[in-house]
Amino acid sequence: MTKKADNPAIDPFEAALGVSDVKGRSPWQDAWHRLLKNRAAVYSAFIMAAMFLMVVFGPMLISWESDFTDWDYTSSAPGFASGHWLGTDAVGRDLLVRTLEGGRISLMVGLVATIVSLLIGISYGATAGYFGGAVDRIMMRIVDIIYALPFMFFVILLMVVFGRHIVLIFVAIGAINWLDMARIVRGQTLGLKNTEFVEAAKACGVSDWDIIRRHIIPNLLGVVIVYVTLTIPQVILVESFLSFLGLGVQEPMSSWGALVSDGAQDMESAPWTLIVPSVFLTVTLYCFNFIGDGLRDALDPKDHF
């Protein structure tokens, strides 16, 4: 009889009934912990945070105005003596201030265009994927048609009709970028809507809208977030490309792309005018890519035992 006597594990159920609630660990928290273990992603996140602070507050702390022309120091090399730490351009404007202000534009384009494409892409893609059938076919054909428009032609057309304006850049990039997002979201939705938990929700009469909101969107957010971190650098690059071609922001405003474009012209006489904005641009692109990789590993762990 000693066998069963003092084994509390025999009926853990009764024993544990009085115990207070256990806190759960959501998949998001799990992913967060995995992300924190990814050094490259964490360092990149710190660098990006620093970059944001610098870009937002830096110009306020530096005594130079971005459009101030310092005739004493045109095309001066970086150094502390002149007070222009990172040098000046051909017309004597402080390169540090200009790069930081250019960063505002570049990052803003990246974020705003991505957010716009995110909102349109998710609602469009989830609707098409969830309802399927004719709705899906028509909606995705529209995407295909817009996709087929040549991007540069579209941008030039906008410029010609409305003139060069920064808002147009947001519009142009946003109008193209949501297409990819919509396709990705639609693909994910097609997979999710056949899962048993969605079927279970249908079986107990949950409305379509609630199913999309509660069951579909939270489960495709992981993929979307990864995609967003890879879209931001892509958008920044597109803006730089447009600026490089002279279709982007207009003087005196500038962006990293515009600065690189200016710098490229003085590459031989004043290489720093090319190097400084290029370094900022490259570091940003690298960081976003590392963060994206880290997020993908964290949100979609394949070797999860």
Partner: protein, 336 residues
């Protein structure tokens, strides 16, 4: 003795498959379920058995009006579910719930156990107080053998067996009259399988539930069902009371299925005879003519290739769809 809750009459679900390019597409029709009829009483368990691709899962969904039938009727307490408008149908869903095969896939990984189990409550009673929901959820969790203090946890923190209990809790939270279980134990380990079967059995007795229990495993079905329906390629082959089905099956397919069940006993397993079945199930895209089973049936005659046998009632009160049911004696354990 009991009230009839569900009556299924000549139910058929056909899927159209399109094949080929834009211009010349061919449509195939898959007769996933083709003319199934049965009745279900309150508190009764109907087992539905068949191999993969026999249409049992589609039937489960058609019973709950999750897929539209192309023919036939599902009467729930006398009302045809497919004639109701959306809102009226939604109200009916209060009474009927489903439990799925893959316990983890059936639970939204981003929701807590509380939210998963409470979802039907919020859906039907949006104004209900949070305290009441909590109380009900904890009650149901206790009923299915889950610790109520786990209410804030997420599905991935539970084992497969516990996840299936969560699925059952969600199905029971509204006090339904009918629960359709679509292979609820197929994905579980043996020891956990037994726990879940016992749980369903207990709950059924306690709550006077009607159960439709779908499985491919005849031995599991035997332990829970009052009557058993055997399906093959979308058709009902036999619908019998449990005891007579396992002792004296009427259809050659039933008897082959029974003989194919592996016995966990070395001596019996080695002494077992042939099932008489060869080959695979034919493609549902291109089912055999006449009796769909004739291509694998050891007793098939010419008539079986031409004429589709109707499901007919035998003297014993059991139903069978076989031309030769009277002449065949398929008693189990007789010929070994």
């Amino acid at each position: 003795m009991n009230d009839r809750v569900m009556r299924v009459q000549d139910l058929a679900v056909h899927f159209k498959l399109r094949e080929g390019g834009l211009m010349r597409s061919k449509t195939h029709t898959v007769k996933a379920v083709d003319g199934v009829s049965f009745d279900l009483d309150a508190g009764e368990t109907l087992g539905i058995v068949g191999e993969s691709g026999c249409g049992k899962s589609t039937l489960a969904r058609a019973l709950l009006a999750l897929v539209k039938p192309c023919r036939g009727r599902v009467l729930w307490l006398g009302e045809d579910l497919n004639k109701l408008d959306d809102e009226a149908l939604r109200k009916k869903r209060l009474d009927m719930q489903i439990v799925f095969q893959d316990p983890l896939a059936a639970l939204n990984p981003r929701m807590t156990v509380r939210d998963i189990i409470a979802e039907p409550l919020w859906t039907f009673f949006p104004k209900i107080a949070r305290v009441q929901v909590d109380e009900r959820v904890r009650g149901v969790m206790k009923m299915v053998g889950l610790l109520p203090n786990q209410i804030n946890r997420f599905p991935h923190e539970f084992s497969a067996g516990q996840c299936q209990r969560i699925g059952i809790a969600r199905a029971l939270v509204l006090n339904p009259k009918l629960v359709v279980c679509d292979e609820p134990v197929s994905a579980l380990d043996v020891s956990i399988q037994a726990q879940i079967v016992n749980l369903l059995k207990d709950l059924q007795k306690k709550l006077n539930l009607s159960l439709v229990f779908i499985a491919h495993d005849l031995s599991v079905v035997k332990h829970i069902s009052d009557r058993v329906m055997v399906m093959y390629l979308g058709r009902a082959m036999e619908l019998s009371h449990r005891d007579s089905l396992y002792r004296q099956p009427l259809h050659p397919y039933t008897s082959a299925l029974i003989k194919a069940v592996p016995v966990p006993d070395p001596k019996l397993a080695r002494a077992a005879g042939e099932t008489g079945l060869t080959g695979d199930m034919p493609s549902p895209l291109n089912p055999p003519s006449g009796c769909v089973f004739h291509s694998r049936c050891p007793f098939s005659i010419k008539r079986c290739q031409i004429e589709v046998p109707a499901l007919r009632r035998m003297e014993s009160g059991d139903w069978v769809a076989c031309h030769r049911a009277e002449e065949l004696d398929l008693t189990i354990g007789k010929s070994g």
